[in-house]
């Protein structure tokens, strides 16, 4: 079995685990689909973290057992889920009042690009079929802290943390933290530049610099 020390960079699960370190007791959190969903499996023991689903639920439980599957109980990714004793349901307008109003403490989202100014693009590739932004624009505009979890580079090798987004934006100057398979970048507020605050195992600051076009503080 490979251990983290033998592997260079973080796996998807490890990126999710790193994001989970940003959770605090009592947080209300919205998790995007993909890697962000894995954050739910990494909530530190003894900590109460409540997951919101923007289709109208607070307190998402785990996937249901086969005999508990309920078509009326799905998450925002339209997957079947289960409820918890502390769950509550509400309508979509109430759900986004919560999101837009700044009541959610943290959201973890995937991204195609993040700019050095904190812009995020994750909903549309011109020329490809456009599926729509869903709730992503509302989340990045409304949630208190925005964490992006993404591969450091695209499959083509192109950097994804870049000076200026080339794709249509989901939100402008909204990202607080970026967690990639190589490193973690953070900024304390939306007027400050991002700072490299952590390296994945076996990754050097030079390597990160080489693989990034965005300006950031080391």
């Amino acid at each position: 079995m490979a251990t983290a020390a033998e592997t260079k960079g973080w796996t998807r699960d490890q990126m999710a685990a790193r994001a989970a370190k940003e959770l605090r007791d009592g947080y209300y959190v919205n998790l995007g689909i993909g890697i962000p969903t894995l954050v739910a499996n990494n909530i530190p023991g003894g900590m109460t973290v409540t997951l919101q689903s923007e289709n109208g639920m607070l307190g998402i439980g785990p996937f249901p057992y086969e005999d508990q599957v309920d078509p009326d109980l799905i998450n925002a990714g339209k997957q079947t889920i289960s409820e918890l004793p502390s769950s509550s349901y509400f309508d979509s307008a109430a759900s986004f009042a919560m999101i837009r109003g700044g009541h959610i403490d943290l959201t973890v989202l995937g991204a195609m690009e993040v700019s050095e100014k904190g812009d995020i693009a994750n909903w549309m590739i011109p020329g490809k079929m456009i599926k729509g932004m869903g709730g992503a624009m509302d989340l990045v505009a409304g949630v208190k802290k925005i964490i992006v979890v993404m591969e450091h580079n695209a499959k083509s090798g192109d950097p994804k943390f870049i000076p200026e987004c080339t794709l249509p934006l989901t939100g402008k100057n909204v990202v607080d933290m970026i967690i990639t398979d190589l490193a973690v970048f953070h900024r304390p507020d939306h007027d400050s530049p991002f700072k490299l605050i952590e390296l994945a195992p076996g990754v050097t600051a030079e390597e990160v610099r080489e693989k990034t076009t965005a300006n950031y503080v080391e």
Partner: protein
């Protein structure tokens, strides 16, 4: 005042016209007004503008109305998982007004609440802001979004009493509540109609004032888009 109709077709009698705007409840295939969508399809009404978070999938939900080319325009936040939609959209046969999910929910609520416009941070600095008024409040920019007042709302509830008070079940509530208020008239289908007095007055999700016509839509064969389960550990 009798609100209960014997079929979806009857409940929609006199309410449909070409070029109308319809607000529909549901999220994906969860909580969609299936019977009413079928009756709208059967009526042949066309050039519809439909405000609905999603557009169904191929031949399920609103996908049925796309297939018969009854829809001119969708106001939606997410339209994936629908090949016919994709075909019509790419061919320029179908207009789409992409609206962030929360903005769509609020536009429906606002339209139903007599609010023709409201300001939101959502979409500032993005394509969504194009052509919209920007106003600064306390040093931050917001865009003006319009309320949606539909000609008709079609929604799916869990239980209704005979007076039209309605409750939803779990995440099937979603857009059904705001969509119901958005319409000049709202027609609801439910899984069960119970006598007046059976529902808790403190627990009504949609007060009877919004439900003008009502049908019993059961039995339902509820579809699941992505069934995800976990395994029970062996004892």
């Amino acid at each position: 005042m009798q609100k209960i109709y014997s079929s979806a077709e009857e409940a929609l009698q006199g309410l449909l016209f070409d070029g109308m705007t319809i607000a529909a409840g549901g999220f994906g295939l969860c909580g969609i007004p299936e019977r009413l969508i079928d009756a709208i399809q059967a009526s042949g009404v066309k050039d519809l503008t439909i405000a609905s978070n999603n557009a169904g999938i191929d031949n399920e939900g609103l996908g049925k109305l796309l297939r018969t080319r009854q829809v001119k325009k969708m106001i939606s936040s997410y339209v994936g998982e629908n090949k016919e939609f994709e075909r019509q959209f790419l061919a320029g046969e179908l207009e789409v007004e992409f609206t962030p999910q929360g903005t769509l929910a609020e536009r429906l609520r606002a339209g139903g609440a007599g609010i023709p416009g409201f300001y939101t941070k959502t979409g500032v600095g993005t394509q969504v802001a194009e052509g919209k008024e920007v106003k600064s409040f306390d040093g931050e920019d917001y865009i003006l979004e319009r309320g949606i007042r539909a000609d008709l709302s079609v929604v799916k509830g869990w239980k209704a009493d005979e007076s039209g008070n309605l409750v939803f079940r779990k995440t099937a509530r979603n857009f059904n509540q705001p969509a119901a208020t958005s319409g000049k008239i709202c027609v609801a289908e439910v899984e069960e109609i119970v006598p007046v007095g059976s529902l808790d007055p403190d627990g009504i999700h949609l007060p009877s004032i919004y439900v003008k016509r009502l049908i019993l839509g059961a039995p339902y064969d509820k579809k699941i888009e992505f069934k995800t389960v976990r395994q029970r550990e062996a004892a």
